[in-house]
Point group: C2
Chain length 266, copies 2
DNA sequence: TAGTGGTCTAGACCACTAG
DNA sequence: TAGTGGTCTAGACCACTAT
């Protein structure tokens, strides 16, 4: 044992100074990248890794942990560790808000977007009712924090996997008495109802950032290890400049690709 | 020892079935969220954690690993584990492309944007020269893969921290003979040079997604554990619809917040 | 039943920080 | 020098999957 320890120290001084677990992870990553292990392939078992790299099982596990954090592999208990199949991301362009989509009725915008890409879409309601306004919502509506607003909290499931947790908030006067208070908001979805209930919709502002999920979010979105989430705040304004909807969404980052096109501003 | 094992099993059956490390991590996360540990505070040492939660040091480490993956804490060897100070994200709105910014000269757009927020900006060049076009670039320019293009690869450092790795590609005929081939591209930056060299710039398309960084990216961007990156592809078109710049950037996600505003399309 | 990954222990030793 | 986090070992036992 002492002998092996010396070997390792010498080797690490000659070759490089990173930890063993990091070097194993990097070696495996390189092999994945050159295609030695293709998407869906099983990686060597921990037993095999300890033999190949002359390390303890703890170190082999640490190495695989690193790859999992990088989103390269997924583990399946009792089966093995596998190179991750890339989920096919759904594109989200600004076209998704085209008036023609929801004016004609049919489906809600998100359904339409995913549906256009040949994917099945389902919405699960987590909450539908009157709640006190969270800070960001109160700020957008210009009301006091905690004042009552209407909320629709739902989980969108695309192709059998949770895709986003979306919470839409509405001013009470626009929501109450419309189908925004029902699970099925009717043809054209929420946008159509807002457009009917008040002034026509005019502008959208979106604000995005990315971060790692909290534990409950990991569970709700069934996120594979090493998958970030995207935080989206979307505010919809009508022609009078009034904010009529604030949506706070947490999106599984491995399921989206976002695109915008716009003229260069003056 | 056996006794403790039984205690634990019984307790876990009564209360919940998650692993000890997860429960420790969740408990600490809750304490951070209610402010028991504020940003910058030191968490209990591993020694203290093993005593408080009656677990081995390995489990305490696993718990902290989880918090690190969630981007909540950072470790400093020899000092302790600390609640992470949130880097103040720099806002990136579409105003950043406003013609008035680069037409007047002064600084390049990214400098201008960060500079407006009172931050110091530096650019380190990693490469500047003629290279074969990568696939995405060739596709945008409508040329063959591997055909020569001009590239400026640089690392932007904002407020002393690497913020993004940005690689801008230009068609040779627009770059050669202009200051795009120099490290200092002159007043107004790359956009101003493109505008002068060819037709006026007209439109921008951006496409982005979020993922975990690879090991080299972690190092280059000095990413704290649990920090995702944003992959951004930006293509600039001139009034004739020709793609005149393709930028491929990898951005540290904890340093940006991206915003868009646009009228609802028809 | 054998093989896999997941959790956990109880240590040893290293590298870094601070008084 | 004492205290901290980082790496690594050599196991034990659990939960799940296949045969």
């Amino acid at each position: 044992m002492l002998l092996r320890w010396y070997c390792r120290v010498v080797a690490s001084e000659i070759t490089d100074e990173r930890s063993i677990q990091t070097r194993i992870a990097d070696d495996l990553r390189a092999r994945i990248e050159i295609g030695e292990y293709a998407a869906g392939d099983q990686l060597p078992t921990y037993e095999q890794l300890t033999q190949r790299y002359l390390c303890s099982s703890g170190v082999a596990r640490k190495a695989i942990d690193l790859l999992r954090q990088q989103g390269l592999v997924v583990s399946k208990q009792g089966k093995g560790v596998f190179v991750r199949e890339r989920a096919r991301p759904k594109r989200h362009g600004i076209d998704r808000y085209a008036r023609s989509r929801w004016k004609q009725g049919g489906t809600a915008i998100h359904d339409a977007e995913a549906g256009n890409q040949g994917l099945s879409v389902k919405q699960l309601y987590r909450e539908l009712g009157e709640v006190p306004a969270p800070p960001a919502v109160a700020a957008a509506f210009g009301i006091e924090e905690g004042a009552p607003v209407w909320v629709r909290k739902r989980t969108t499931i695309v192709d059998g996997r949770p895709h986003q947790l979306a919470d839409s908030y509405y001013p009470l006067d626009l929501a109450v008495g419309t189908r925004l208070t029902e699970e099925n908001s009717g043809p054209g979805g929420g946008f159509a109802r807002l457009d009917e209930a008040g002034d026509p919709l005019a502008e959208i502002r979106e604000e995005w950032s990315a971060r790692m999920p909290s534990s409950p979010e990991s569970v709700s979105l069934q996120l594979p290890g090493g998958t970030p989430v995207i935080d989206l705040t979307r505010i919809v304004y009508d022609t009078k400049g009034r904010a009529v909807e604030v949506m706070l969404a947490v999106i599984a980052a491995d399921t989206v690709e976002i695109s915008y096109r716009f003229p260069i501003p003056d």
